[in-house]
Amino acid sequence: MDYLLHILIVALIYAVFAMSLNLELGYAGLYNFGHVAFFGIGAYTSALLSLAGLPVPLGMACAMVAAGMAGALLCVPALRLTGDFFGIATLVFAEMVRLFFLNERWLTKGPMGLPGIPRPSWVGTGIAAMPMFLVLCLLLTVSVFLLVRWVAVSPFGRALKVVREDEYVAQALGKNVFSLKTRAVVAGSVLAGLAGSLWAHYITYISPGDFTLNETILVLLCVVLGGKGTNWGPVLGAFAVVFFQEALRFLPIPADLGRLIAPLQGMVYGLALILIMLQRPEGVISEYRRSRVC
C-alpha cells in the first residue's frame, strides 16, 4: 500500500510543481523552460536549513522565499526578452543553477548530495510517516490549487491573461506589463520552491542530478498535456505522467530488454509533446471549452 502512497505523494508534488509552471506558462504566457531551477533552489534551501537544525516548516517557508527571490532576480534581466528567447534564457539559467549545485561543494556537498533530510517532526519518521506525509502533501496541494484558482479568477489573473493575449493592449490599458510578469514569475517560483522542498523532505536525499532539463521537460509535459491556463489541467497532467511512469514498471518486460524501457519512455514523452502541439495545443482540458458551448 505504501507504494500507492508513494505514487500519490509524487503525483501531488508534481501537481504543485506543474501548477506553479502553469501560473507562468498558462496564465501569463511566459514560457519558462528553466522552472526546475526554482524547484531545485527550494529543495536545497529547505534541505540545508533543516539539516542545520531549523524546524522543517520554517525551512519550507525559507525555501519559498529563496525561490521567490531567485525568480525576481531572474526577471530583472530575462523579462526584457520575449517568447522563445525568454525560454532559452531560462533554460540556460536552470543549467547554471544546476552547475552551481554541483560545484559549490562547501554549501551543497556537490555531487555527494544531501542525505538524511528530516521530515517534519509531527509527520513522524519511518514507514509510519507515509500516510501523514500524504496528508501534508494533499493539504498543501489543495491549498495551492485553491490559491492558484483564486488568483486566476481575481482581477490579477485577468490582468495576466491580458498580458498573455496582447502586451500592447495591456499597456494601452494602463497595465504595467513588466511588473505583472515579474509577480507571475515570483509567484510561480515560490510555489515551485514549495514543491521542491516537499520533494526534498519526502525523498530525504537530493543531489544535483535530480534537477536537470529532463525534469523541466516532464513538468512541461504535465502542463501542456493537461491543458495550460486551466485549473485542473496541470493536476490531471501530473497524475497522468506520474502514473504512466509507474505503470511501465508493471509491463512484463524480459530482463534483458529492460534497458529499452527508459528510451522508449523518452520517445513516448517526445512524441506526446509533438502530437499535443500538432493536434491539440491547448491540452486535454481546454481553457475555452466552456465558452464554446454557449
Partner: protein
C-alpha cells in the same frame, strides 16, 4: 605561454565545430524564425549513423560510411520539417519551440534505444599530436578545422554564387516578396533543412572522430552553438563562425582559471549575458551574409 597558446588553439578547433553547428541553426532561424531545439539531435544522428555503416554487418570504411550516414541525417532533417514543423509554421513560435523540444527528446531517445547510453567510439587509434612551435595538434583536429573551413567556404559559394543560395537569402530577407517574385519556396525550404542537417551531420561525425559518441552529444553542443549564433547575431553566417570560435576559446581558456566543473557554465553565462545585453541584436537576421 605555450600553455595558453595551446588552449587558444584547442579553442579555435572546438570553435570551428561549434561554427558548423551554428550555421545550421542560424539558417533555420533566418528563414523560419524559430530556434530548432532538435538541431543537436541531427549532430548526434550524423555521428551514430556513420557508426552504423562502419560497424558490422555493413562494415564500410569510415570515409565511405560517411556518405550514407550524411544522407540519412539529411533525411531526418527534412522529415522533421515535413512531419512536424511545416504544420506549425502558421501558429505561434512557442508552439514550434515546444514541438522541437519534443522532436529532440524523441530523436535522442530513439538513439538510446538503438545504441544504448554507452559511450561508443569509431575505434581510431590515438595518434601523437604533431608538434609545432611548442603546440600540439592531432591529425584529426587538423581534419576538423580543415573540413569546417571547407564547408564554410562551400556555404559561402553556395549562398553568393548560386541562384538557389541567393533565393535562400532572399527568402530570409523578405519571404513575402520572394513569393511574389516566384522564388520556388518549396525548394528553398528543403534546401535550408538539407544544409542544416548536412552541416550538423558532418560536424557530428568530426566531433565523434575526435572524441567519442554518446546520445547527449548533440544536446550540449547545440546549446553552445546557440551561444555562437547569438554572439554573431542570429542569422549572420560569418558572425556564427566568429561566435563559434569565441565560445570555443572562452570555455577552453576558462578552464585555466575556473574549476573545470564550470566549463559549461562559461558558455551558458555568455548566452545569458548576450540575450540580456543584446536582445535587439538577435533580430539582425541574415545581415552581412555576404
Amino acid at each position: 605561454m605555450a600553455y595558453y597558446a595551446q588552449l587558444v588553439l584547442n579553442g579555435v578547433i572546438a570553435g570551428s565545430i561549434y561554427a558548423l553547428f551554428a550555421v545550421g541553426l542560424t539558417l533555420v532561424y533566418g528563414v523560419f524564425r524559430f530556434i530548432n531545439f532538435a538541431h543537436g539531435e541531427l549532430i548526434a544522428w550524423g555521428a551514430y549513423l556513420v557508426l552504423l555503416f562502419a560497424l558490422p554487418p555493413i562494415s564500410l570504411p569510415l570515409y565511405l560510411a560517411l556518405i550514407p550516414a550524411i544522407a540519412g541525417t539529411v533525411l531526418i532533417g527534412v522529415a522533421q520539417d515535413r512531419f512536424v514543423y511545416r504544420h506549425l509554421l502558421q501558429g505561434h513560435r512557442i508552439t514550434l519551440l515546444i514541438a522541437s523540444i519534443g522532436v529532440s527528446y524523441f530523436l535522442r531517445n530513439t538513439l538510446r534505444l538503438i545504441w544504448g547510453s554507452d559511450l561508443m567510439t569509431y575505434g581510431i587509434r590515438p595518434v601523437r599530436g604533431i608538434q609545432f612551435a611548442g603546440l600540439s595538434i592531432t591529425p584529426t583536429q587538423l581534419l576538423m578545422a580543415g573540413t569546417a573551413v571547407l564547408f564554410l567556404v562551400i556555404l559561402f559559394v553556395l549562398l553568393t554564387r548560386t541562384l538557389l543560395g541567393k533565393s535562400l537569402r532572399a527568402v530570409a530577407d523578405n519571404m513575402e516578396l520572394a513569393a511574389v517574385m516566384g522564388v520556388p519556396m518549396q525548394r528553398v525550404r528543403v534546401t535550408v533543412w538539407v544544409l542544416a542537417a548536412l552541416f550538423a551531420g558532418v560536424g557530428g561525425f568530426l566531433l565523434a572522430l575526435d572524441t567519442n559518441l554518446e546520445p547527449a552529444m548533440g544536446m550540449t553542443n547545440m546549446i553552445k552553438s546557440f551561444a555562437a549564433v547569438l554572439l554573431g547575431g542570429a542569422g549572420n553566417v560569418w558572425g556564427a563562425l566568429l561566435g563559434g570560435l569565441f565560445i570555443g576559446m572562452a570555455e577552453n581558456i576558462g578552464v585555466a582559471f575556473f574549476s573545470p566543473g564550470y566549463k559549461d557554465f562559461i558558455s551558458f553565462a555568455l548566452i545569458f549575458l548576450l540575450l540580456i545585453l543584446r536582445p535587439q541584436g538577435i533580430f539582425g537576421v541574415l545581415t552581412g551574409m555576404r
